[in-house]
């Protein structure tokens, strides 16, 4: 690989030289094409690898975009993309760098995979012994557990780690999140390293402190295009600096979730330590959980987050019923929730009647469970569900029962020593689901529906829609059509949905609302009734009648398929 790499570098160097001399542009373009072809091949290979072995989450989300955005793997790459267009010379350098990065990453991933496999093997060995040894093994597990978890949690994607406040790159990010203690010590920053930002982070603290001493509380600051939103929750200060066109309310919602993510790991009692000892460095207790904050922020651009709902996966009612009955069987003394889910949505949820899980908690659980590092092993972890009980920990058992489609079984118990019990329950579920082939059917259906786009509805000029069932807070959506397959366009779509929705929900007195907006980019029609919310987006050159007709068609399609789209009777034990 190294020789290949060197060749590429040489090639690129050559092309760089010529481009700077300005002699042979055709050659450059040719080489560019070559580069692209190479890249395509690389990506194909990667794709295969990704399918064969499991890969990092982010990448997979991007996979869909590959055709449109070659080589853009990371979230923020298109921000660079814009710069790239401006500076063509730099482009090639960057591509070269990206390539190198990719290769390095690949190496890293492979190493990680090896590690994971090793861990897996070890785990399997442990599992075998656990059958014989039982409780002793459990103790051992408990001892190893924290070590393991911290290992897993430690692997953050370190792309922006080295940025400081004086770096142009850092300043150009469209959205910053800063979480700090009332003493001004950093807890989480989205970009840049804690130590490089440690003096900067004092500024929001000083602002907050100053206003508190005036007997008031700072809410937000507007500076040029920036909206700086503050959220003070007990001893913790959360700040978002956004250049995007988002309302303060929307940002507040995001900050609330970030705060919940801290509670999720420490419980409210953990954060209360700061009241007695304000100089405490909370990072040492959060032990490298930063990547969950990163992925949570990433998830904030999702249709379920925007509509405050839960996304269920499209499945035949008969299959869902089989899952339901399998999960019902897990009924156990301390068990509170049994959830079968994948990265893209919930398959089924069974819970106790007395205290059902909130959308908020479920969102955090989904974010937690989808960490790629969890896939090879069974996981047993204490965690806190803020809405369920912010003062106490529950205990989660996590097991990927289908590694290919990443179907994950999540059991939440109150018993801190219940690992073995839940393991048994989990085995029961797996047995039931594999015996009658349900698991294969689910896996098969997911594979088929994964790439299901709105185009398959064959509704004229329809580009995207979200349907939210208000009765059970579930939403359904499909892959968007062009141009929203492009990341930058999709981001714009998210913003459009967000602003439309928050505008429509402002006045809660009026029950039924319909709204339409037309821009040069698209036409949006939104309908909110007691039962549902529907947002449909069409080609900009559509007549009003056509659009309304299109919306009705979407609605009809949903009505027709309602049983497979939503899980109507949420199961209770």
């Amino acid at each position: 690989m190294t020789t290949l790499n060197e060749q590429q570098i040489n090639e690129n160097k050559d092309s760089e030289n010529t481009s700077s001399l300005g002699i042979n542009k055709d050659q450059i373009q040719e080489e560019k094409k070559e580069n692209e072809n190479e890249k395509q091949e690389e990506e194909k290979q990667e794709k295969k690898k990704e399918i064969e072995k499991e890969n990092i989450n982010n990448r997979e989300i991007e996979k869909e975009n590959e055709e449109q955005e070659k080589g853009n793997h990371e979230n923020e790459k298109e921000e660079q993309e814009e710069e790239k267009q401006e500076e063509e010379k730099k482009e090639e350098k960057q591509e070269e760098q990206e390539k190198e990065e990719e290769e390095k990453e690949k190496e890293k991933e492979e190493e990680e995979k090896e590690e994971e496999e090793k861990e897996k093997e070890e785990e399997e060995e442990e599992d075998l012994s656990s059958v014989q040894v039982g409780e002793e093994d459990l103790k051992k597990k408990a001892e190893n557990f924290n070590q393991q978890i911290s290992q897993f949690r430690g692997r953050r994607y370190q792309k922006h780690e080295e940025e400081g406040i004086h770096d142009e790159k850092w300043r150009n990010h469209k959205k910053h999140y800063l979480v700090l203690t009332q003493a001004g010590k950093p807890i989480y920053t989205r970009y840049g390293s804690d130590s490089k930002l440690s003096s900067f982070i004092c500024v929001p603290q000083a602002l907050v402190a100053f206003v508190i001493d005036l007997g008031d509380e700072i809410k937000c600051l507007k500076a040029d295009k920036h909206n700086i939103v503050f959220d003070i929750r007990g001893p913790i200060i959360l700040v978002c600096v956004s250049k995007l066109d988002e309302s303060t309310e929307q940002i507040k919602k995001q900050l609330k979730y970030l705060h919940s993510q801290i509670i999720f790991f420490l419980s409210i009692r953990g954060t209360e330590m700061l009241n007695d000892r304000p100089h405490l460095d909370l990072r040492s207790y959060l032990g490298g959980t930063t990547k969950f904050f990163d992925s949570l922020i990433h998830r904030m651009n999702s249709y379920d987050f925007i509509t405050d709902s839960i996304k269920y996966l499209k499945l035949k009612p008969s299959i869902r019923e089989k899952v339901a009955s399998a999960l019902r069987e897990t009924k156990f003394k301390f068990l509170r929730f049994a959830i079968l889910l994948t990265d893209s949505g919930i398959i089924h949820l069974t819970q106790t009647k007395k205290k059902p899980i909130s959308t908020h908690d479920l969102f955090l659980l989904q974010n937690f469970s989808q960490d790629p590092a969890f896939r090879p092993n069974e996981i047993w972890s204490p965690l806190c569900l803020p809405d369920y009980n912010s003062k106490a920990f529950v205990h989660a058992y996590l097991n990927y029962i289908d590694k290919k489609q990443k179907i994950c079984l999540l059991l939440i118990s109150l018993d801190p020593t219940g690992f073995m019990d839940l393991k048994t329950q989990s085995e029961k579920v797996v047995k039931t689901l594999t015996q009658d082939g349900t698991l294969d059917k689910i896996s098969h259906t997911l594979e088929k529906t994964e790439s299901l786009s709105v185009k398959s509805l064959k509704i004229k000029k329809l580009r995207h829609f979200i349907y939210k069932n208000r009765e059970n807070n579930q939403c359904f959506t499909m892959k968007p059509a062009l141009p929203y397959t492009l990341k930058s366009e999709r981001k714009r779509l998210y913003t459009l949905y967000k602003t439309t929705r928050s505008g429509l929900l402002l006045d809660s007195k009026i029950q039924n609302k319909q709204y339409s907006s037309t821009s040069e980019k698209e036409v949006l029609i939104a309908t909110i009734t007691d039962d549902y919310e529907l947002y449909t987006v069409f080609h900009p050159l559509i007549s009003k009648n056509e659009a309304i007709e299109g919306e009705v068609q979407v609605l009809n399609w949903i009505k027709k398929n309602e049983e497979s789209l939503f899980s109507h009777n949420i199961q209770f034990w």
Partner: protein, 207 residues
């Protein structure tokens, strides 16, 4: 894990205006000095990373305004400090006498858990300006009476003793940290009782 090995220390510098608080900080962090006097407005923040006993320590230094008209940062500002540095001008006895009130002010505002043991460091700055007007004995006696506060004589201008003083500041703050590390390792899970209550409450109904 590496993160455990890292520490972040909030260090607050207090003292009368013109004693050289900002100069000390700039000398230490940036190794720069200017004879020009510019009053600090509100507060300035700088940070520096150092290694102490194999531990990577980030010093978050809060330089405050000495002038009274800027003394509005108040309670919330001082909260959660790990160490407080009291600076006076060795040529001005008044600035030394005022340390007493600076110390009291800090303790009132930040209300640390154990005021007697809170780490302070005293710095007499500007020793390059000739014979000190405050005798070493006076300083020694005062520092001893306040619980053995370590003291240093420095010159930010000539870079004398500045690094030594700040290293001692960091060490002092870390010493305190060890005593509160009682929570350390893994967080004490506060759920035991809660869980049982929870179970009892829930068992009655649904199970």
């Amino acid at each position: 894990m590496s993160i455990r090995n890292k520490a972040l220390l909030k260090i607050i510098i207090l003292g009368d205006s013109g004693v050289g608080k900002t100069s000390l900080m700039n000398r230490y962090v940036k190794n720069k000095f200017t004879n020009q006097y510019k009053a600090t407005i509100g507060a300035d923040f700088l940070s520096k990373e150092i290694t102490i006993d194999d531990r990577s320590v980030t010093m978050q230094i809060w330089d405050t305004a000495g002038q009274e008209r800027f003394q509005s940062l108040g309670v919330s500002f001082y909260r959660g400090a790990d160490c407080c540095v009291l600076v006076y001008d060795t040529n001005s006895p008044q600035t030394f006498e005022n340390l007493e009130s600076w110390r009291d002010e800090f303790l009132i505002q930040s209300s640390p858990q154990d005021p007697e043991k809170f780490p302070f460091v005293v710095i007499g700055n500007k020793i390059d300006m000739g014979e000190p007007a405050v005798s070493q004995k006076t300083v020694h006696t005062w520092c001893q009476s306040k619980g053995n506060i370590p003291f240093f004589f420095t010159s930010a201008k000539e870079s004398q003793n500045v690094t030594e003083a700040f290293t001692a500041i960091a060490q002092n703050a870390l010493k305190e940290e060890k005593t509160y590390n009682y929570y350390g390792g893994d967080i004490v899970i506060p759920d035991e009782d809660e869980d049982e209550e929870e179970e009892e409450r829930q068992q009655g109904g649904c199970c």
